[in-house]
Symmetry: C2
Subunit: 525 residues, 2 copies
């Protein structure tokens, strides 16, 4: 392979590339203007900001087209940026890291290739959204459930590759994906795990392979473009029970976290339960301006009132139980006893059949019971309404009450002194740690407020790094800063990952800068 | 780094290397003869066979010593082979792939660095065996359980890195390890996941990191030497219940597998339940010669008699349940009802406290209840007694009854026509697939019989590859053949892995040939 140092293409190179891409996918599937093209920027940047915009968007319809695009990119030295739907707006949405790169958007590759009831999995393409897979399961009367995120429009594959979060059993770290097909930087095609054997019968059943397992190497990285993935599904249980836990005292977080950890460790609670603070819980069903029109963060007295009136308190736990009736009953009694041992805490749960889940009145309950929808998209509008954005600071933190309290006492004042709400959702991604998703919501029609939010996220990522908390994922604007914090032994991890990057993508054409991984020509050594 | 083409060292190079290694670890920790040195061969090869023997064994006591050894190996072009204890004898034990390499054995690095009761994990060095970690948990009265393999002498880290099997909840694929420290081929040191951040508080709590997760890349590979690992432990449950399922009809395997899969998928059974055939179950407590002294495989009538007299039938399921009393009771009733719906099948279970597990009479029950011991070492002696060996053919197979039956009907006659028992143990490594560990036991004092076993394993690995079944792990003698079967798209997986190998270990000094991964100088392009 000829190695060309890449940079954002322009002029004749870009024109040549677009012509070649049009030959591959058809001219109507190469976008350089228009409404759909404009989706491929950070939607929470103020109008006129264009830090993360492509020069063109190519939408292939097949694996062969993706391979052909990659080969042309290598030949011409054109950097690509791959995405499935480009929807997680808190981290940059459809935008890309290196302005002027060409986005390879995989929405058109949206086939559900297999749904296997006996072995409870699906094999899908990257354009398949949670909404689509959910609908296919229901319309086909498959006895299966999908673990879904709050907002169902995103790509199932894209969400998995970015370590995104869903809430039922297979929402825990790495539990849903099993077996990838990947277009490599040279235009080749490999399959991971057992899929590396032609016709292997366990590609989407066995998490490993013979030799090193590569699935996780293609997540949060830029070593290939994933074109198929197996996703594990859960057989429909007899019952599912969405539950809420409400506390009216801010200091209760210590006991809430410790109680939750014990119940997760012993298997009473499964999946990814969350503890939301008042603005976060209230944001599901209302806006900040419904409650408070002053400057700066919402005062404690207002938070108390919001918590009382909406019944979400100062902390609101969301989770679900599932299984056979007697098991759900036992677990509910145990969970209720454990949390109500904290004075003033209230616990609610409603045991329903999976078929009844779509009729639940609260959108959060539907999500934790496995129903994909778009209703929680309103969460972005907490500040600014239709021009409301958020930029998430989402560090990983041990699931220990005192530690969570120390974290809050360190970081909440930083947000508040910048005039921002510390809107937070502690997602227990497994029994031992949580992702503390702390959104600084802002009105992106207000440039000054947007800059304040950016500045805040920059500060807290650095401060968190000093204290030993790393973010699980970073917005485009902070990928380098976030990666900089991982400096053990003079950045040994990054140096190792760069060795891999240079070996498998010598021309550096695949998603340069993704999570801080740059090809050698762009590293400025 | 100077890149030297490596081969097994000899003469002056070997002498220089040994001198340098002695300077690093002390002369008494560089073995070239004696009883401990002789452990580092395949113990199931007949006396005089020395295909997989080292020229020396170096036993460092610290990470720094491992780093120094690796630097010397690079400088002199000496290939190393890393192991923890070197104990899984069915795959070559303490032997190494490239005869004459220098074994870096990590037994002396046997510190348990942390046991965390609150967050249920341990941080350990590679010399720590299951027996040692188990003993430390009991002696320290920690409220924690370790998922253990049949024979407790192996390294916890080594077993994890080779995809080895244990039986409780964290025995499923990749569930126990969390966070590695690795000496890289240039003598550097990296930490994976959150450990890539200095002082990060979630290294052994969060399975991922920022950017691609590398943990699985260091498993079944030769990209680094792992010097620390976090291992997740399970809080002691209220009760644990070892169970057995006994069927007297060979054809019952179809219904047994389908029943087991449904109970795993809905979470009734957790961990890694197994279905053993008669020789496999009988081998835990007796020898072939106790039952049959004829030539060739044991006839059906004898198998029937063994199954009746030992109560293990033609199929014997071993599993355990655990949790709160009412949950265990519900699950036991459900498991019993499901299996006894197959006519003639018997189900037994005994609900005990974890503290009572050491007193269980059957060694299998103790293992599935989390007790580490050496008692099942006798399984190797099914044929040949003290000179009994086995070489495992262990393909991954979908957990579907009809498919398992087809597999047996294909492969069992091959073994029997070679005069060998088809001794098998289907280990359900997750709800969707099993590892069909099919041991061809042989008397390694008998060269002819040993050659027959080797020949058989060669045949079945190839035949399985044609049918879409890949082995989860291979004996030293068959690593290349097993890897050859993974030929999708002209060996795209192997080519990708080789790119990584050449990038991170350009001198090719780390465990050349491990699972079929050879450095460029040895690939004979």
């Amino acid at each position: 392979m000829t190695v060309s140092a890449v940079s954002a293409p322009s002029g004749a190179t870009l024109s040549s590339a677009i012509t070649r891409f049009e030959e591959i996918v058809g001219a109507e599937h190469v976008l350089t203007a228009g409404a759909e093209f404009l989706e491929f920027r950070d939607p929470f940047q103020p109008p006129g900001w264009d830090d993360y915009t492509p020069s063109a968007v190519v939408q292939p319809a097949s694996v062969e087209q993706v391979q052909a695009i990659v080969r042309v990119a290598n030949e011409l030295g054109v950097p690509l940026w791959a995405n499935g739907q480009g929807r997680n707006n808190g981290y940059g949405g459809g935008g890309l890291r290196l302005k002027g790169s060409v986005t390879v958007n995989l929405r058109r590759m949206n086939r559900i290739l297999e749904i296997n009831d006996e072995l409870s999995y699906a094999l899908i393409e990257p354009g398949v959204s949670f909404l689509e897979l959910y609908a296919a399961l229901r319309e086909g009367s498959h006895p299966l459930m999908l673990s879904v995120p709050d907002i169902g429009w995103g790509s199932v594959i894209g969400n998995s590759l970015d370590h995104g979060i869903t809430y039922m059993g297979y929402g825990q770290d790495h539990m849903a994906p099993c077996g990838l097909e990947v277009v490599t930087a040279d235009g080749g095609l490999l399959r991971t795990g057992m899929g590396a054997m032609p016709g292997n019968r366990s590609w989407n059943l066995y998490r490993r392979g013979l030799g090193p397992t590569l699935d996780q190497l293609f997540m949060q990285s830029n070593f290939g473009i994933v074109t198929k993935m197996g996703v594990w599904l859960q057989p429909l249980p007899e019952f599912v029970m969405p539950m809420t836990v409400t506390s009216y005292k801010e200091d209760d977080i210590v006991a809430l976290v410790d109680t939750l950890r014990v119940l997760l460790l012993d298997g009473t609670i499964e999946g990814v339960p969350c503890l939301l603070n008042t603005p976060s819980a209230a944001g599901m069903v209302s806006r900040s301006s419904d409650w408070w029109d002053g400057d700066g963060p919402m005062p404690a007295a207002v938070l108390d009132r919001v918590g009382r009136e909406l019944g979400v308190g100062r902390w609101w736990g969301r989770l679900s139980l599932w299984g056979d009736g007697p098991v759900v009953d036992h677990k509910f009694a145990k969970v209720k006893a454990a949390f109500t041992a904290i004075p003033g805490v209230a616990v609610q749960g409603k045991k329903i059949t999976p078929a009844e889940a779509e009729n639940l009145s609260h959108p959060s309950d539907r999500v934790v019971a496995g129903v994909a929808s778009l209703e929680l998209i309103r969460m972005a509008g907490w500040r600014g309404g239709d021009t409301g954005g958020h930029m998430d600071f989402a560090p990983v933190i041990p699931l220990v009450g005192d530690e969570v309290m120390r974290f809050i006492k360190t970081f909440k004042p930083m947000y508040e002194s910048a005039g921002l709400d510390f809107k937070s959702d502690l997602m227990a991604i497994s029994a031992r740690c949580g992702i503390y998703v702390s959104g600084s919501n802002f009105n992106f029609a207000d440039e000054e407020e947007t800059r304040r939010a950016y500045s805040m996220v920059r500060t807290v990522i650095s401060e968190a790094g000093k204290l030993g908390y790393g973010v699980y994922r970073a917005h485009l604007n902070f990928m380098d800063l976030a990666a900089d914090q991982f400096s053990f032994n003079d950045h040994a991890y990054r140096r190792f990952v760069q060795q891999i990057k240079d070996a498998v993508d010598p021309a550096g054409i695949l998603s340069p800068g993704k999570q801080g991984i740059w090809p050698s020509a762009m590293r400025g050594q």
